[in-house]
Symmetry: C2
Subunit: 331 residues, 2 copies
């Protein structure tokens, strides 16, 4: 059977995770990498076709079946998404929850015009957690699902919040770990109708390396008052050396869960929980993107076009296994 | 919008759960109940249309959109499934895992011939757990998902094993609780490649009321040596009075989880777990069947026909919510 040819757009942590993931999915192969800095990528990946991001003819010549867009949601995807959707099938992990309807509409328009398939906003949240929220609500009508992040002792590394810390003048490097509030988890599990604010569900722990001569007290104050990112949360700031940061904050671990609690017919309790724990958050996202690339191939082969989310795709489309195997071994 | 008219076939615990569930899903309504004993059901449900199981004309006259088949997998569904699939869209919870491929083929043939949609083998296992097994394996290639049942202190009530106990002469009444083995859960979570046998994953606890004069020792021996049901497991048998059975064994609680453990790209650990805890097992199954009835309506409106499983259906089809709401509130 012909392998699905996958184009990786953007070689950051997620893009590198996609390369690794492709080698664990023997029905797919790498068609090439699209980068803003092709010379850098060619050195890192000898033997791989590398094309500049604005070289449309070069991208088309790679003859890929699907492009996995690994750019960021803030600056890359809003422009890049519709551009790619107008020339190739795409998968992306656009994760600004509030702006998903707007992004869906833009991608749907572009993909319908080109006759391509675009799966948007997948990964573990949005993505698998979105799916679990919908299933929980469908199977337990009235249940409201809550998501929690950073369940383990060390918490979960938030890339977005780490980036936010690094924008503060005087901060040389930083990491942010999110911690779920155990009492909030227990309240949701018990079905208590608490009207949670964001700060009730999570706390934030920062590890910050200062530039020489930076004012620690002022930086701590700037962090704790940063709107959206830290102001709504109980936030602790730890100033550490570069060496301490390196040893304490290695890797990209993250974990989380979705919990929904409600009742069935005669008032009997019903609780469902989905948990995931990842040694590498970007590799987890990459694995999920790659499984969605398989689904894109299937949708495209059916002549479908337009934007899709994980909610629009049957689970079997993500799987390497045949219908016969699924019925026999997975049902 | 026109409500989906649902026919309930068989008024046991699951059928009663479906009636309750329909009242919590305002896009559906009860079309009627099909029963082998319509007079009994008419007394229990005054005002509800009740039709005898072999009255095809009567069933058709109820003008239902979908029939939820609540019969058992051993004696009812293998015959009843294809019969109903040849006249109406159906949903069922056929749960003999080994025989699902064969049942799927029979239902697919019947439903394709009649142009109807038949969703088979849904509930929480097979059903939601099947879905979670497929997703875990797709997102963590190579990960093998294991299911566990009876996680809480009291364990989970197994109807099938309780029925098996009651077939033994001298047993007046009985309940069987399944317990997951905590060490096995930890081994799966840790990704240990243990070659588990059934008896390594679960133990079985029986509560048995004897008939007057029955021989306890002989019955205990018969239980513990029953092939398939008890012989492969560490089984304990408690003889109790009818009163003790009533107070210890009220209701139909059950719970379980699917755990899959593996690695992502560079060998980083990855674990996903789906847990559910139900105060009423038959009500849980009923709720899931009802959400699938909604999906059947959607598939039928698209002109689809044949047999489907939960693996073939997008999550959005189970949901009461519009695409706009799903994008805005659930993604």
């Amino acid at each position: 059977m012909k392998k699905l040819r996958v184009l990786v757009v953007g070689l950051g942590n997620v893009g590198r995770g996609v390369l690794l993931s492709l080698s664990n999915n023997d029905d797919m192969e790498l068609a090439g990498v699209v980068s803003r800095t092709p010379e850098r990528v060619k050195k890192e990946l000898p033997g791989v076709a590398v094309v500049k991001a604005d070289d449309i003819a070069g991208i088309k010549a790679l003859n890929a079946d699907v492009a996995i867009l690994c750019g960021g949601s803030k600056n890359d995807l809003p422009l890049q998404g519709p551009q790619f959707a107008s020339i190739i099938n795409t998968v992306d992990s656009f994760d600004h929850h509030d702006r998903i309807p707007e992004y869906f509409a833009a991608m749907d328009t572009a993909a319908k015009a080109s006759g391509k398939v675009s799966v948007i906003s997948t990964g573990w949240d949005p993505g698998v957690f979105s799916l679990e929220r919908v299933l929980a609500n469908a199977f337990i009508p009235g249940a409201v699902a809550k998501g929690f992040y950073g369940l383990g002792e060390k918490g979960g590394l938030s890339m977005g919040h780490s980036d936010a810390l690094r924008t503060i003048p005087g901060v040389k490097d930083a990491r942010q770990y999110t911690h779920a509030v155990p009492e909030a988890i227990e309240a949701v599990r018990a079905g208590k109708a608490v009207n949670f604010k964001a700060g009730d569900l999570h706390t934030r722990e920062c590890f910050v390396v200062l530039e020489d001569g930076a004012d620690a007290a002022s930086i701590e104050e700037q962090i704790k008052s940063m709107p959206g990112y830290f102001a709504p949360y109980k936030t602790t700031v730890n100033f550490v050396t570069e060496e301490e940061l390196k040893s304490r904050c290695a890797g990209f671990p993250h974990d989380g869960c979705v919990i929904a609690s409600g009742v069935t017919g005669a008032g009997n309790g019903a609780v469902v929980e989905y948990h995931c724990r990842w040694g590498s958050n970007p590799e987890a996202t990459a694995n999920i993107l790659v499984a969605h690339a398989r689904a894109v191939g299937r949708l495209a082969s059916e002549g479908r076009s337009g934007a899709f989310t994980i909610l629009d795709i049957p689970a079997s489309y993500f799987s390497r296994h045949s219908r016969e195997d699924l019925l026999k071994k997975f049902m």
